[in-house]
């Protein structure tokens, strides 16, 4: 059994230590937000946050994770009460088929946590590891800009300190 902390909750998982986190999230914990895209760390559909950094959960064996904090898109908000980044993606209608979007949201969430006021180039560089095959990139970028300003508005003192 390997102990994982996901969205603040502890889980004891009965899986081999080399099992990718993505499989455990989807198959054992019922957290289906993160998607299997390529399984090679090339597309970003499986992106989750570990200790504040966006990572490919398809290439993250659970052996690495005891003592670390995993956040998935389910940890950002609910359908009724979406988090600020999720809401921005909805407002901008950033999803076409939606398969990449959970990964995009997590990548953006991690970016905005350490870069609250990103330049256009910083957004593009930050989201660079994630692919969208539908081509909604302009809406995704707009969503990240919207999320950045709504997060800054919600935390004016913190943004001013940056």
């Amino acid at each position: 059994m390997i102990k994982l902390t996901v969205n603040g909750q502890e889980h004891a998982v009965d899986a081999e230590p080399d099992t990718p986190l993505l499989y455990v999230l989807r198959n054992d914990l019922g957290l289906n937000g993160a998607k299997f895209g390529c399984g090679l760390g090339q597309c970003g559909a499986c992106t989750v946050i570990v200790d504040g950094a966006a990572v490919f959960s398809c290439l993250t064996p659970i052996a690495l994770l005891p003592g670390r904090q995993v956040t998935t898109i389910e940890g950002l908000g609910t359908e009724d009460a979406p988090g600020p980044v999720q809401r921005a993606f909805m407002t901008e209608q950033a999803a076409q088929c939606g398969y990449c979007i959970a990964g995009m949201v997590m990548r953006a969430q991690a970016l905005l946590a350490h870069t609250p006021d990103p330049s256009e180039q910083e957004i593009r560089d930050g989201l660079n590891p994630n692919l969208c095959r539908c081509g909604t990139h302009m809406r995704i970028l707009a969503a990240v800009r919207r999320a950045a300003s709504s997060l800054r508005a919600a935390a004016p003192t913190k943004a001013a300190a940056q």
């Binding site: 080399d18 090679l40 570990v50 490919f56």
Partner: protein, 438 residues
């Protein structure tokens, strides 16, 4: 203790050499150089198209853009900070903008910068500009590079001020450096070798300045005499030897090298990484013949014939050890490898089946230092906008220093017969501090 004593000793040596350099500079009374008269930016029509085209190839062979372009910046507009042991030197704008670039530079001024490391105003340039190599270039080639640069679109962009520690921020010191380390004179062909070899040797030595990364440097940042292409480092990345000391398990030949230099990948060796990747992007644009002569020359310096490791089984494809035959019992490392690396580097993985070589063939895995492997694990091979090429995700966010060290140690044991690396975790810490470079 031993380390700090060593650093102290190095400091004494540096101070002694600096004093010597200053003395030499003063004695030679050459620190002062006159400024060259400014010219009006030359008209594009004053350069022959053929000369501009040859200059474009030479600029790509010399990889001017790698240093003289900032991250996401416009080509040749400068602003990239080049880390050196003495601080950061910012590459300048070499577009023909009169105010911030080289618009006022005559060909004579440009030639003096390339040969002597003196800018138009008469100031010494830092040898991070590889003028000790460019000084060997022919007048025609320097003129062609000048023609190419002076016909780029002028862009106004001033480079940030250098961030160098005292006394290295005092430029006249470089007069002493030049007395010690600049050997003026054009490149001379070796009459015992054919024209192809000689052209390759000329390009490597005078234009492409491979030694700037692949030759070890002394404490004052000069390439060590007698150690040409014996292996060095580039922005923290391991730059393997390009001569007899090459640790590549399959020996290089001219065709494999040419493929690697043009595409960033060779099936017998693997992918170009770190600062070498942009070099291959540049070399993809130059005439085949130039890259081929470089490959002929460098291959002639490398060990010839396959060099299989003693006591390991051979495979038909490579003539080398079959890594599947080696097993290493470290359950933690095995879990990391299988979960993080195996999807691409496993024996049956799609990438391996598509022709990517086993890690056993990797130069970095077989190198005397773990730095190359550590940098690859931490930083991967990023996507580069506008360039096709090999890709590997970065693992710096998900692996701790200790986990990277465990993984690197495992890769060495499983894929190489050479002795285990020492102090791998310290190497990981240094690599993480230094960042991914390019």
């Amino acid at each position: 203790m031993a380390q700090s004593a060593r650093i102290r000793l190095h400091r004494y040596v540096v101070v002694a050499v600096v004093i010597l350099a200053v003395a030499a500079g003063a004695a030679g009374a050459i620190a002062w150089r006159p400024s060259m008269p400014p010219i009006a930016p030359p008209d594009r029509a004053s350069f022959a198209e053929t000369e501009v085209a040859r200059g474009a190839a030479l600029a790509a062979l010399g990889d001017c853009a790698a240093c003289h372009t900032a991250e996401n910046g416009r080509p040749y507009t400068g602003g990239r900070g080049i880390p050196t042991p003495f601080g950061i030197v910012y590459a300048t704008n070499i577009t023909p903008d009169p105010a911030t670039g080289i618009g006022h530079w005559s060909l004579d001024a440009f030639r003096r910068a390339m040969r002597d490391g003196i800018d138009r105003a008469g100031r010494h340039l830092y040898p991070v500009l590889p003028y000790p190599h460019f000084t060997r270039a022919t007048d025609d080639d320097i003129a062609a590079m000048y023609a190419f640069l002076m016909t780029r679109a002028p862009v106004q962009q001033k480079a940030p001020a250098n961030a160098l520690t005292f006394p290295f921020n005092w430029r006249p010191l470089l007069a002493g450096w030049n007395v010690l380390f600049l050997r003026p004179g054009m490149w001379r062909p070796d009459p015992s070798k054919d024209a192809e070899w000689n052209h390759g040797a000329y390009l490597v030595e005078a234009i492409s300045h491979c030694g700037a990364c692949h030759t070890p440097h002394n404490l004052l940042g000069a390439e060590q005499g007698g150690q040409a292409l014996a292996g060095g480092e580039a922005e923290g990345w391991y730059a393997p030897p390009l001569q007899a000391g090459s640790p590549a398990p399959v020996s290089w030949n001219a065709d494999a090298l040419a493929t690697y230099l043009r595409t960033g990948f060779d099936a017998g060796h693997g992918a170009a990484a770190g600062p070498m990747a942009p070099v291959t992007h540049q070399l993809a644009t130059v005439p085949d013949a130039d890259v081929h002569t470089i490959a002929v020359y460098v291959a002639s310096l490398m060990p010839s014939g396959p060099t299989p490791q003693a006591g390991t089984p051979q495979t038909a494809a490579t003539g080398l050890a079959n890594p599947a035959a080696r097993s290493v019992a470290d359950p933690q490392a095995l879990a990391i490898f299988n979960g993080a690396c195996g999807a691409c580097h496993g024996a049956d993985a799609p990438m391996t089946r598509a022709g990517a070589p086993s890690l056993a063939l990797g130069t970095a895995v077989n190198a005397p230092t773990s730095r190359g492997v550590v940098d690859m694990i931490l930083h991967g091979l990023p996507w580069r906008e506008g360039h096709a090429g090999p890709y590997m995700p970065a693992f710096s966010a998900v692996l701790t220093d200790a986990q990277v060290a465990v993984l690197a140690t495992y890769l060495r044991a499983r894929y190489s017969d050479r002795p285990p690396w020492q102090d791998v975790e310290a190497t990981v810490q240094a690599a993480r501090r230094q960042g991914g470079g390019t």
